[in-house]
Symmetry: C2
Subunit: 315 residues, 2 copies
DNA sequence: GATTGTTATCATTATTACTGATATCCCTTA
DNA sequence: TAAGGGATATCAGTAATAATGATAACAATC
């Protein structure tokens, strides 16, 4: 009656995401041979091919895609059973491993951590700060339960949810003629010296597109993948940078730098919440996620009102 | 990582529904010993008890109930995979086994069968006419894909959906003073000679309650579990009966009997659609179900307008 | 054409599940 | 109170299933 089993579904999901039996085998701690036989078995039982094989890898057939969708749903529900156990066995506990893009380190993360730790003292929290590619990777292979990253190209095996849209802010040193919080049209500016994150960074790509599209004059660009150093550099030189609103918010009145909403048009960054597609969150993880999401949403709303260019444009 | 497997879930569901390892083992074609070991394994892995055992049988714990809910959902989705295969492999085909309460034999079933067979010539249809208890049993153990029955006490392992509410109609021979389609208040009547289905029949129970509650005077009751004989008896004697509107509709103008909406208050019957809780319908079954449901709903609406007591009460 | 990196296959081994007999428990009944 | 019936648990042996490691076959790349 029931041909399919969970092992086969797990294999199918891994192969589908890795586009390779070999890589999938590595991921699920099995041998390529084993996967090959299991998928063969599954295909024979169902009477249709799930993957087109070649010596360079595999591509899922239509049926393979369809089954992948179902399989992730099923596996997520199965993992929910195991999470239920935690819930049923009483108080909230366990370990939550979260990835965060650097943007949220202060404005968002700190208050959430404080609150959460107070409410759920038995939950062990581990936060990793990294750029989106690293975080996506870590979530995919189960090292992290979830992460918040800037939106970018989708990684297979992840379930993503849009959280909020934030404004990007132009940051300069105090030694300029512009006044603090005055909007700026980057394309009508003298050539910029910009400190930006390196290529590959999701925000960087969006910024590059913006600079090109609106022909923003550039003097030179420095690659700095560290927020702290960037801020420091900007405040003590004529280098400038572009940072997400959420990151700037805690320092909005800091005299060491000036913030300028970007207009014509505004430059924005979208934050997305990612988690493994075929796994459900533990109760602790769910609660933590709720807090994070709430905090990010309110912070972004606040950013938009304080640093958004909406008023500037209208005025 | 993944402890639970589908076999365990299937066992859990069977045991939960049968309230017995032994009976469940029979149902899933396995031994009591095997189930015992699998559930033991599952309980140990999850770290909690799923059933409280006694020598009289077994009762699910809270955790057992919770898991049962999840398990049925998961198994339904897994069976959906297998149904997908049919769908993916092209045209609609397969075998659909439906159970029908006798009420629908003519007014509803015939047109649906005709239409469906024309649209989907490759689907093999098997219809079984029986009373609700038999149909529930057959759906539970997989002999039928689905059934339509009068609402009554819920059987575990079934997923039910309310279809429509129909009026019950008082049926007499032509040799009475009453005029055809004239509403009747049964409690203000001379003692009745009623032919009714035997006890255990779901409609009978509802009728009994009605007769008692509104103190309908009864001369005598005959138990007839055959619609055809009942109709025949009524038309040729002073015996009367109570039948669902849907059943009467095709004969509404037949001079061999008279129909009377029941008022003060109206007596109604609810139809429900049942299917196995832990299995999803094949595409063919889904299409057939849609047709049946649609037909029953329109028929009931029609019944209510033709045979309903609403107007009578208002007037 | 050698090399690298795929997947498929096969015989063997390891693991897992099932079976059937039996033990144990509890409730009912004589 | 003892016997009987019906339930689940346990155990050792067996059967079924899955994983392994080596190898083959193939395609792309250098």
């Amino acid at each position: 009656m029931i041909y399919v089993n969970l092992r086969q579904l797990r294999f199918l999901v891994a192969i589908h995401e890795e586009r390779s039996f070999t890589a999938a085998a590595r991921r699920v701690n099995a041998t390529q041979s084993g996967l090959s036989m299991q998928i063969k078995e599954l295909e024979e039982r169902l009477g249709l091919r799930l993957f087109d094989r070649s010596s360079t890898g595999v591509t899922p057939t239509t049926a393979g895609d369809r089954l992948y969708e179902r399989a992730t749903r099923i596996l997520r529900e199965v993992s929910a059973i195991e999470n239920d156990v935690q819930t049923l066995s009483g108080q909230v506990s366990g370990r939550v491993q979260v990835g965060m893009m650097p943007t949220f380190a202060r404005a968002v993360l700190a208050p959430v951590l404080e609150r959460f730790a107070r409410h759920y003292p038995n939950v062990e929290i581990k936060v990793t700060e990294a750029y989106s590619a690293v975080l996506c990777e870590a979530v995919t292979n189960g090292q992290l339960d979830m992460a918040v990253v800037p939106s970018g190209k989708m990684v297979p095996g992840l379930k993503a949810e849009h959280l909020a849209t934030d404004v990007e802010v132009f940051v300069t040193s105090p030694n300029t003629k512009r006044t603090h919080l005055e909007p700026v049209d980057l394309s009508k500016n003298k050539p910029l010296k910009l400190a930006l994150p390196g290529p590959g960074n999701a925000r960087r790509e969006k910024i590059d597109t913006y600079l090109e599209t609106y022909q923003v004059p550039i003097d030179s660009i420095m690659e700095l993948d560290t927020m702290m150093a960037t801020l420091d550099l900007v405040s003590r030189s004529d280098w400038t940078t572009i940072l997400p609103g959420c990151l700037c918010l805690p320092d909005i009145d800091d005299p060491r730098r000036k913030l300028h909403p970007i207009v014509n048009p505004p430059l924005v960054v979208d934050y997305v919440f990612i988690e493994p597609a075929s796994q459900s969150k533990t109760q602790a993880a769910e609660l933590f996620a709720d807090e994070i999401v709430k905090e990010i949403r309110t912070t972004c709303t606040f950013c938009n009102s304080k640093l958004g260019a909406a008023d500037a444009i209208a005025g």
